[in-house]
């Protein structure tokens, strides 16, 4: 089963995304900020990251940048997800190394479609 790490400081948002992704057949883990996410990524392998932008300790842009520059962490697609809809925010996400930028609130069908596409899960 493919594993997804949800990185978001909002408990409700983590639970919402977890419920959508688990229902779609994925194993889900959670981190409350970029620091915890980096620690988890160093100790486990994930197939995809779902990353909020604004978080204490280490924000989403900085987390993805660290992730992309870390030789010890196997690389996987990163979806950045934010309430901020400005083009500059999307540009910053892609410059940091994100593969996709989604604006909150997410709709379950669209989120699952994006995740499946990035994971190459055409049969599920």
């Amino acid at each position: 089963m493919k594993r997804i790490l949800i990185v978001d400081d909002a408990a409700t948002v983590r639970m919402y995304h977890r419920s959508i992704l688990e229902e779609a057949g994925y194993e889900v883990d959670e981190a409350i900020n970029g620091i915890e996410a980096l620690e988890k990524a160093l100790n486990a392998t994930y197939d995809l990251y779902l990353v909020d932008v604004n978080m204490p300790k280490l924000d989403g842009y900085s987390f993805v940048r660290e992730l992309r520059g870390h030789a010890m962490i196997p690389q996987a697609p990163a979806v950045m997800i934010s309430t901020e809809a400005k083009t500059s925010d999307q540009t910053k996400a892609f410059e940091a190394g994100a593969n996709l930028y989604i604006i909150k609130p997410t709709r379950p069908d669209l989120l699952v479609a994006h995740v499946r596409l990035l994971l190459g899960d055409t049969s599920t």
Binding site: Y16, V53, N54, P56, D59, S62, E84, P105
Partner: protein, 207 residues
Amino acid sequence: MAFIKKSTDAASTGADRVAERDFAGLIAQLDDADPATRRWAARDLLVFPAATAALVARLKREDDRSVREFILTSLTRLGDEIAVAGLVEWLRSEDAVMRNEAIEAMKALPDEVAPIMGGLLSDPDPDVRIMAVNVLESLRHPHVEDWLIDVIDNDSVINVCGTAVDLLGEVGSPAARASLLRLRERFPAEPYIRFATDLALKRIGEA
């Protein structure tokens, strides 16, 4: 030979702090080329209420993160109107790192932030309103629930309401029930709002 860990504090209490620690001397050191000197100047200025304007001005052009943290800490402790205004300006930054630095600093300033919270929660920029709700997360203030209820009753932007609902699920009481139900009716086609309001109602025992 024993391993001796070089401490930043130990190193900085030497040459970095030899210069005059009076107000004028510390203000001048805020522009020093050495980040360690700027850091200690920012820290030592927290006993001078008149330093807030200089600290805010330095914050705007400071590119060293550790110095910014010391400036924000001093502004937090000084906490006058100029300090709070500087923190709010930081909150509006396009830079996620700076925004989060401001949020963390403002969370520690309940009495100083409270008078401006109404203005922040009605700011024309929805991103600023979301940041303001994020500040409320750890703001130990008796009006937090009232502010959140006001947001979900009146804000037209779904993500501002969504952020407020998330927090209401943690700090809300039965007083939030009617507003949570009204919010769900305002956004009937939004799965996240349904999920979040259901969860908040369950947590406050009003499902």
